[in-house]
């Protein structure tokens, strides 16, 4: 939207963040009408930091991360700036994107089973990245793949490298996926719900692994999840998305201690917590808004108990409300 909106930054102090996304808008046209899937999203992630992205299904988390990878599905129009260590790739050629992908920016997907090529050996799937970007020979690359497998905690990596994905358990597959992503030590890792398909016990293991690896390599991570609790366990900073928009952005502690947006508050409140049992859980009424065209006003207004005419008429912009806290809501003062 407006170009002069304050650029929110996860770590404004650092000169060139690992990833900077500015005014990212993803839209498509159907039957002559334009609809925005992601609207005017801006954020930065510094080296060694993790940005959590939360939001309900369909709010544009995946599309955002695909856009960052230059992999937005055909038919979608991506506007805005995507800077990898300062280099803007938004309008770059497919070749430039290909050179960046897997090398400087890598991605871990939700379903480790379907995200791995079922007919290619694990080791080769890892080595392939090294061959592509490091110009390595297959033989050397295979060796390095074994080391990478070891580094993500896969037991007997040399044997596992010769296995096909179906022979690995879900957790192992996700570890292999991470090994692929980290093969070239990318500056930015985009993880799209990397633990959603896993059991809680395995989820804990993977989260630990990601934190450890980040501490070792200093990779900036964009961690996407619909689960606030999970995000709270890994993220330094968090953005909350609703219907394609960022509605709140804050330092993790800040966000949970003092959520400002009614949506964020609702989300936190609706989670049943054994520590604070209640008879009836509070609810956010209604259902998640569909991305729609020609929208006016706050996208959350229809479900918001506080909404008034202004909310329905005018779309709120992200505004800074704390040291590292931004929120897009007309009603924050009243909250």
């Amino acid at each position: 939207m407006s170009q002069d909106a304050p650029p929110p930054a996860a770590r404004p102090a650092e000169a060139t963040p690992a990833l900077e996304v500015k005014n990212l808008t993803v839209s498509f046209e159907r039957d002559g009408r334009r609809a925005e899937v992601v609207s005017d999203v801006s954020y930065t992630i510094a080296r060694g930091r993790t940005l959590g992205v939360v939001g309900e299904s369909g709010c544009g988390k995946t599309i955002t991360s695909l856009a960052v990878m230059g992999l937005a599905p055909p038919g979608l129009r991506v506007q805005g700036a995507i800077r990898l260590a300062g280099q803007d790739l938004a309008g770059a050629s497919e070749k430039a994107w290909q050179d960046a992908r897997g090398d400087r920016v890598a991605m871990v997907f939700q379903e480790p089973m379907s995200a791995l090529n079922p007919v290619m050996k694990i080791g080769r799937q890892i080595a392939e990245v090294l061959v592509r970007h490091r110009g390595a020979r297959w033989r050397e690359a295979n060796e390095e793949a074994v080391e990478l497998l070891a580094s993500v905690g896969i037991p007997s990596p040399r044997l596992r490298a010769q296995d096909y994905p179906h022979r690995l358990s879900g957790g192992m597959r996700q570890r292999a996926m991470i090994a692929i992503a980290l093969a070239c030590k990318p500056a930015v890792l985009v993880a799209d719900e990397p633990t959603t398909a896993l059991d809680v016990t395995i989820q804990a293991q993977i989260l630990d692994l990601m934190i450890e690896l980040q501490e070792r390599t200093g990779t900036a991570i964009q961690f996407i999840s619909h689960n606030l609790a999970v995000v709270s366990q890994v993220a330094h900073d968090i953005i909350v998305m609703y219907a394609g928009r960022v509605v709140e952005q804050a330092d993790a502690q800040q966000l949970f201690a003092q959520p400002l947006h009614p949506y964020t508050r609702g989300l936190i409140a609706t989670l049943p917590d054994p520590q604070r049992p209640v008879k009836r859980l509070p609810v956010i009424p209604g259902r998640v808004a569909a991305v729609s065209a020609g929208h006016t006003g706050c996208r959350f207004a229809a479900r918001c108990a506080l909404a008034d005419e202004r909310c329905h008429a005018q779309e709120p912009q992200l505004e800074q409300r704390g040291e590292r806290h931004w929120v897009a809501c007309h009603k924050v003062e009243n909250a």
Partner: protein
């Protein structure tokens, strides 16, 4: 806060799944064009009595003095090798060809549905047995098999000679043998569909509530595998029309003088150099019909399956 009743956002008139599909199909241009073409072709074929009455021509009337006649006001497409009206014979032949295609598909489809539903819903040994049988059927050489079936002596099967030699026997024989041979695709499709539907939670829910197999097959499975059946059936009609023409070429199809596009084409091919149009018309009509069925089937697949890519 308590759960509030929610207003619905969609249109006030409820659209059934079929209405939605029809809408999707209408958007699929090749399929719609094919559907229109097929309707036109059917209309063309079934208007034979009308056109015959209008032009005062009898599709079976031979006239040796008007062989290979050029197009005239009465014979719009000219006459054939024994002076019959080509246009009318194309129409009548089309009726037979379409009838062979549709009937063989329906019979084969019923057989395939029975086999597929039994295999898919009952599973276990019955499934294994039926699928083996299907594999066996598929491994048989199709065309020679049809040739043999077409030549089988019905008398040896104990069918009384007056039935075995009735005037329509060659038509029904072709319909039946093609149906007997061409049910495997539908059987597989239905089995796969039944397996998929049978695993759906709504079928399980019905079972929990006390539904038995017949109920589930009738109420849930069949309506829900209708889509792949329709798609496979559409493609089958086209394939059957082609098969009939091939059998006609081999001299074992529907026997003249009952015209079909297949045997008209076969008749005409001898005259390909002198009266090429006699071969062009039925060939073209077969081609158009079959390709239309193919496009329609493909369109149906896409329109009926939101997942299918264009």
């Amino acid at each position: 806060m308590s759960t509030a009743s929610l207003p619905l956002e969609s249109s006030p008139r409820p659209l059934s799944i079929w209405a939605l599909r029809w809408r999707a199909l209408r958007r699929h241009k090749p399929a719609m064009a094919s559907l229109v073409l097929l309707l036109l072709l059917a209309a063309f074929c079934f208007s034979a009595p009308l056109v015959g009455a209008l032009l005062h021509v009898d599709p079976n009337a031979t006239d040796l003095f008007e062989r290979y006649g050029p197009p005239t006001a009465t014979h719009l497409l000219g006459t054939d090798e024994v002076g019959r009206d080509v246009l009318l014979r194309l129409m009548v032949g089309g009726q037979v060809s379409l009838a062979v295609g549709v009937l063989a598909t329906v019979f084969g489809g019923l057989l395939g549905i029975a086999v597929g539903v039994l295999a898919g819903y009952l599973g276990g040994r019955i499934d294994a047995f039926l699928m083996r049988a299907t594999d066996c059927m598929i491994s048989l050489p199709l065309i020679p098999l049809l040739v043999v079936l077409a030549a089988i002596d019905l008398g040896k099967l104990g069918i009384p000679p007056d039935v075995a030699q009735g005037p329509d026997v060659s038509f029904w024989r072709i319909v039946i043998i093609i149906a007997l041979v061409d049910w495997t695709t539908i059987a597989r499709v239905v089995r796969a569909g039944t397996l998929a539907v049978g695993r759906q939670d709504y079928v399980l829910a019905a079972r929990v509530s006390g539904a038995g197999t017949p109920y589930n097959v009738g109420v849930h499975v069949l309506p829900n595998v209708a889509t792949p059946i329709i798609v496979a059936g559409t493609l089958t009609v086209g394939r059957v029309i082609l098969l009939e023409s091939t059998l006609s070429f081999l001299g074992v199809g529907v026997m003249p003088p009952t015209p079909t596009w297949g045997n008209m084409l076969n008749n005409a091919q001898e005259l390909a150099s002198s009266a090429p149009m006699l071969a062009v018309w039925p060939g073209l009509l077969i081609f158009l019909t079959v390709i239309a069925f193919n496009f329609l089937g493909d369109g149906l697949r896409v329109a009926f399956d939101p997942r299918a890519t264009k």
